[in-house]
């Protein structure tokens, strides 16, 4: 009877494609929006992910994320270095500045000052050039998103001169970095150079990056640093979470994406429910005849389940495929750099599709089960 059920559904091409479209559209909306949401909020942790060598981030008590930091006095570095279990500790500066490009455009940029000696704080990989270029005077390394922002005419950024807070800066390499939440242009330079680019208050040390000794865990070390220095110390994973949480708590993004995902679900229920009900209504005489002939309600249920399963599988597959194509086709856009589909998201979409089909299938099935076989003689 499953075969007959499938043929009944596919034979009515208009409704079949309508239901498949409803499921595919719903899946696409839910999967794509959740994917963008997850990847976007993970950008809140990009500053942490870009420095994988640091086990612990030390900061002022009021600092919250890599972008929301209150500067500490330079003596904080010595305090941290004196804590047992600290293998190494280096200064890290994060600030904002304005850059004027060769053609006169003004752009807000992030300046990241990394340790002069070890260069800890730089992203691990370079797209062009190497970390050594920072040894040259006035050198900065631009991130790959910055290249698309400042050099969207396709000109070569290597060797380009910038006016950075009225100071001369020369781009000598391009870093392969995860963009920040706002996809702002980021310039990396030596800590000492960064102090020159970002003049201002007496205290300018944003963070102290710490490597843990072999005999201590990052968590233990963070606790110890906080106890001995009074500074806030977070492990890399904790600080990454802090960045994500900050975005969740301080932006309307979760609500907006949540609304879109809910709309995807509602649209799915509406389109699929309406079309499925119409299909059942159009075939109610046939179902009535089948019941009269001797098809049990159990078999009728399995027929409707087979129909729902078929459109669910095709629609879900198309929806997920649509999301993959979307992510793939925008992968060249720096805004979507590094976007991926976490395995949990297709699973969530599958659950949503199952709920949509179970709900609409149940509503449609009620009409079939309520149909008396005797109605075929009326």
């Amino acid at each position: 009877m499953t075969w007959i059920a499938i043929r009944m559904l596919t034979g009515d091409a208009q409704k079949f494609y309508g239901i498949v479209f409803g499921i595919a559209f719903s899946t696409l909306l839910i999967t794509q929006q959740l994917t963008i949401f997850v990847n976007l909020i993970e950008r809140g942790a990009s500053g942490t992910y870009n420095v994988p060598s640091a086990d612990v981030w030390v900061m002022d008590e009021v600092s919250r994320t890599t972008d929301v930091a209150y500067p500490m006095p330079s003596t904080a570095l010595d305090k941290v270095r004196s804590v047992p279990g600290v293998e190494w500790a280096v200064p890290h500066l994060r600030a904002t500045a304005s850059v004027r490009s060769g053609d006169g455009d003004l752009e807000g940029v992030s300046i990241i000052g990394v340790d002069d000696a070890t260069l800890i704080g730089l992203p691990r990989r370079m797209v062009a050039g190497s970390a050594d270029v920072l040894a040259q005077p006035d050198s900065v390394i631009i991130d790959d998103v910055g290249v698309t922002r400042l050099f969207d005419d396709g000109s070569n950024p290597i060797g380009a001169r910038l006016e950075l807070n009225d100071q001369r800066a020369v781009i000598r390499a391009i870093a392969d970095a995860i963009p920040s939440f706002t996809s702002q242009v980021t310039l990396y330079t030596k800590y000492s150079q960064a102090l020159r680019y970002v003049p201002g208050t007496r205290n300018r040390l944003s963070f102290v990056l710490v490597g843990a000794a072999d005999d201590v865990t990052a968590q233990e070390l963070a606790t110890r640093i906080h106890a001995e220095t009074g500074l806030r110390a977070r492990t890399r994973d904790e600080f990454a979470d802090d960045g994500v949480q900050f975005i969740i708590e301080n932006t309307g993004i979760p609500l907006n994406f949540g609304i879109t995902v809910a709309l995807g679900f509602i649209v799915g229920v509406a389109i699929v429910g309406l079309t499925f009900s119409l299909f059942i209504r159009d075939n109610i005489k046939q179902f009535g005849a089948l019941k009269a002939i001797g098809v049990t309600n159990r078999k009728i249920r399995s027929m409707v389940a087979a129909q729902a399963g078929l459109v669910g599988l095709i629609g879900y597959g198309l929806g997920v495929l649509g999301t993959v194509v979307f992510i793939w086709s925008f992968s060249g856009d720096p805004t979507f750099k590094g976007f991926y589909i976490p395995w949990q998201i297709p699973l969530i979409s599958l659950v949503a599709v199952t709920v949509i089909l179970a709900l609409t299938g149940w509503l449609a099935l009620r009409n079939v089960l309520r149909t008396e076989p005797a109605s075929v003689f009326r």
């Binding site: 075969w3 596919t10 009269a292 098809v295 005797a374 075929v376 003689f377």
Partner: protein, 247 residues
């Protein structure tokens, strides 16, 4: 009124009767009111008979045939089909009984529009769990018997009304049921097609171990009946080989 039995003879069904009803009454609720559509019908239908149920609209013939074939519960009374008290069966057993013992021909055919004639005809076999290939073979054999074997691969909307009716007949007979019930089988056909369908039904659906009951008010085919039961206001008012005078 040769086979109309005494209403006091409840339980007096002979084992040879194809259908036996005793005291069958059916009420319907209409708001606050209860309308009695059938008033204690007692009748026997014998195997080998082509029986017509005839009556005006609202006389109760559709209700009676629905009760006789096990798709509508009587309010009171007993119905036996080939010796089985069908309303004493559980729901699932009754459905299974219909599947194996009764063939249905509906006025509107109720064929599934998206599957071909052979597949439509094979539905009862597939519902019985018979392999689809074998079911199709048997369905095609039945269609050939009904002279439309060459239309087996066509969809219902590619067939004429008469051909669709034959597919419906094939579906009713393919599983060799012992009772065939038909609802106005000639209503949508012209006179010639109607007679051909009836000739066909008589040839294939009536046998010494099989009965056929037809609801109709098509007077063009009255002469083909073995027995005509006339219903008026929920009661059998005539039982004979021919229609009574004045009808």
């Amino acid at each position: 009124m040769a086979t109309q039995l005494d209403t006091s003879a409840i339980g007096g069904c002979g084992p040879e009767a194809a259908i036996c009803t005793r005291g069958v009454t059916r009420d319907f609720k209409a708001g606050q009111n209860t309308i009695t559509v059938l008033h204690g019908i007692d009748l026997d239908v014998q195997p080998g008979e082509l029986t017509y149920l005839v009556g005006e609209s609202g006389s109760g013939k559709t209700t009676l045939i629905s009760i006789m074939c096990g798709i509508l519960w009587p309010t009171l009374g007993e119905v036996k089909v080939f010796g089985t008290d069908i309303y004493a069966l559980g729901d699932t057993e009754l459905v299974e009984f219909r599947l194996r013992n009764i063939g249905f021909i509906f006025q509107q055919y109720n064929l599934i529009p998206s599957i071909d004639a052979a597949s439509n005809a094979s539905v009862p076999l597939i519902a019985q769990g018979i392999d689809r290939g074998e079911a199709r073979e048997r369905a095609i054999a039945m269609l050939e018997k009904l002279n439309i074997g060459d239309q087996a691969g066509k969809l219902p909307n590619q067939l004429s009304g008469g051909q669709q009716q034959r597919v419906a007949i094939a579906r009713a007979l393919v599983h060799e049921p012992r009772l065939v019930v038909c609802d106005e089988p000639t209503a949508a056909l012209d006179a010639a097609s109607g007679r051909r369908v009836m000739d066909l039904l008589r040839a294939v659906a009536v046998a010494k171990d099989r009965a056929c009951v037809i609801v109709t008010h098509d007077n063009r085919i009255f002469d083909l009946a073995d027995r005509i039961l006339v219903l008026e206001d929920g009661r059998v008012t005539h039982d004979g080989k021919h229609m009574p005078e004045g009808h």
